[in-house]
């Protein structure tokens, strides 16, 4: 099993922390994992993205050039990454904030109203968790349970309420997928 994932959205949408959570959960599930952020000048201008690899074999490079999965949280990200997705790859789209649809026909597209769901259950900032829940459900690269268990470890400063909300968001994402 090898999964190269790119997660992309606005700064503030929790793209980086979401990526770390995914990597952490992968590690807990006994996978080889890497997390690689976009950094430096790439960051300017309000968009953020990161790459995560979850694999049963050792990971060569954490740089994901042609992802197996894209988690797209806003409009500009779709334009930027659509073409890099592998043929047959999975695209999970936060339809709350993305109105366009991919032009490619050789990929699998899952539409999730991520931000809407998150807002509904209490905080729009948990949209990243909704997306991850959907991802876990769809690919089984990480277990949904592990994702939820990992929240406390990765966000050491999160209070119980936050943790619960995030868990819920993951579950909702799983359901929506």
């Amino acid at each position: 099993m090898y999964q190269g994932i790119i997660m992309s959205g606005f700064g503030g949408q929790g793209v980086v922390s979401g990526g770390i959570l995914l990597a952490y959960a992968g590690m807990m599930d006994g996978r080889n994992v890497t997390f690689f952020p976009a950094y430096g000048a790439e960051m300017r201008g309000g968009t953020a993205n990161c790459s995560v690899v979850v694999s049963t074999d050792p990971v060569a490079s954490p740089v994901v050039g042609s992802p197996d999965t894209l988690l797209i949280m806003n409009e500009p990200s779709l334009a930027r990454f659509e073409n890099s997705l592998k043929s047959g790859g999975l695209l999970i789209l936060n339809t709350t904030l993305v109105s366009s649809r991919p032009a490619r026909k050789d990929i699998k597209v899952i539409e999730i109203a991520g931000s809407e769901i998150a807002e509904r259950i209490g905080n729009v900032k948990a949209a990243n968790m909704v997306m991850l829940g959907a991802y876990a459900k769809l690919t089984e690269a990480v277990r949904l349970g592990t994702l939820k268990e990992s929240i406390k470890k990765v966000y050491a400063r999160a209070n119980d309420k936050m943790v619960e909300l995030n868990k819920k968001a993951i579950d909702e994402g799983g359901l929506a997928a």
């Binding site: 952490y24 590690m27 690689f36 950094y39 430096g40 000048a41 050792p58 490079s61 954490p62």
Partner: protein, 360 residues
């Protein structure tokens, strides 16, 4: 101690240094290594150590010169242009035999370049970008785990031989997160004995002097022979490398750091496909693992060098093989990161007799 932690390479390196006894860090911000000084800025005070943001890289290396002279385990880090600025100071440390530890989290050069991962500073690290005959102990980690554990080795070597020691890593290794296990017990800095050459304030009869020169006729030549002897000893004793599947291989892939990971993947995939591919990865770039190459040269027909630079690492491979096998080179400078598939493809071409990547 054997807990697995998900850490960023830069932070693993910083934490590794602290656990290895580092108690003084001076540095100047530069991407992609900012997490190192940032980490040190809160971590060192916790241990009673000192973090200083220097006014420049030049100042930072000279703060280390002073701090190392009093016997502390010290560290600085930077990225390519900043490391260039430190070259004079590194040469001074080498000459004055001060054990310092530093890291270059390489970016794409030359000039301001970019902040993408690169291996373009191989020559500078292994040949001395500074002036004069001197050497630096250079380790090239390939994973965040090694980022975490190599500082301790560097300190051990630096103090044993009184030389500068460095970690050379590209931006990937600095920025990525991976699981880490610290494989050593934290060093209690206060329990380290104060070296007998360290400045501490002395009685006149026992006073100590640290300097990097001797102007008396012929003395600087002797000074160099003394250093050379030490370097020869390190060459004999401190080489580290990894060699896999070399027996009976038709082709050896070789690279260091991130390139090594990529070679490893290409090898694994190649072997699945039935190709006899082996792999050598130097862990110390200086001293270079000349012998393992030399031993295989002549026996194995082809070596494919992979580097994220334009033909630097390959020179050491060539110097080791010395004409007894064919060498091929796959190079990507300044942010070009080869993939495993890409390398495997090249490997297949080389195996099939394609000479387009022939180096010598």
């Amino acid at each position: 101690m054997s807990e697995r932690i998900l850490m960023k390479g830069n932070e693993a390196l910083a934490e590794g240094a602290v656990r290895a006894g580092c108690r003084f860090f001076a540095g100047y911000p530069i991407t992609p290594q900012n997490e190192i000084p940032e980490y040190m800025s809160w971590r060192l005070p916790e241990t009673g150590g000192t973090f200083l943001q220097a006014e420049s890289e030049v100042s930072a290396i000279n703060m280390l010169f002073g701090a190392a002279a009093v016997g502390r385990r010290v560290m600085t880090s930077s990225s390519s242009p900043g490391i260039s600025l430190k070259q004079e100071g590194i040469s001074y440390c080498a000459s004055a035999e001060l054990p310092i530890f530093y890291a270059n989290i390489v970016r794409g050069g030359p000039g301001l370049g970019n902040i993408a991962p690169s291996q373009g500073d191989y020559f500078q690290s292994t040949r001395g970008g500074g002036h004069g005959d001197y050497r630096v102990f250079v380790m090239a980690p390939k994973s965040v785990d090694e980022m975490a554990n190599f500082p301790r080795i560097c300190y051990d070597i630096a103090f044993k031989y009184r030389i500068p020691a460095m970690v050379l890593a590209d931006g990937i290794l600095g920025q990525m997160m991976e699981p880490v296990t610290f494989d050593f017990d934290p060093v209690e800095a206060d329990s380290l004995s104060i070296p007998d050459w360290a400045l501490r304030g002395s009685k006149p009869e026992e006073r100590r002097v640290v300097k990097s020169f001797d102007l008396r006729p012929g003395k600087m030549e002797e000074w160099n022979y003394r250093l050379e002897k030490k370097y020869d000893e390190i060459k004999a004793e401190e080489v580290r490398y990894e060699a896999i599947n070399t027996d009976g291989a038709d082709l050896i892939l070789t690279g260091y750091g991130t390139s090594a990971r990529i070679c490893e993947t290409a090898m694994a995939q190649g072997r699945k496909e039935g190709l006899k591919i082996g792999y050598i990865r130097p862990i110390t770039l200086w001293p270079f693992p000349t012998r393992i190459f030399r031993d295989l040269a002549g026996k194995i027909g082809k070596f494919l060098v992979v580097e994220m630079s334009l033909g630097q690492y390959v020179e050491d491979v060539q110097l080791s093989i010395n004409g007894r096998s064919e060498i091929y080179l796959h190079k990507r400078p300044a942010g070009g990161i080869p993939t495993g598939e890409e390398v495997l493809e090249v490997a297949k071409k080389v195996l099939s007799g394609d000479k387009s990547k022939f180096y010598v």
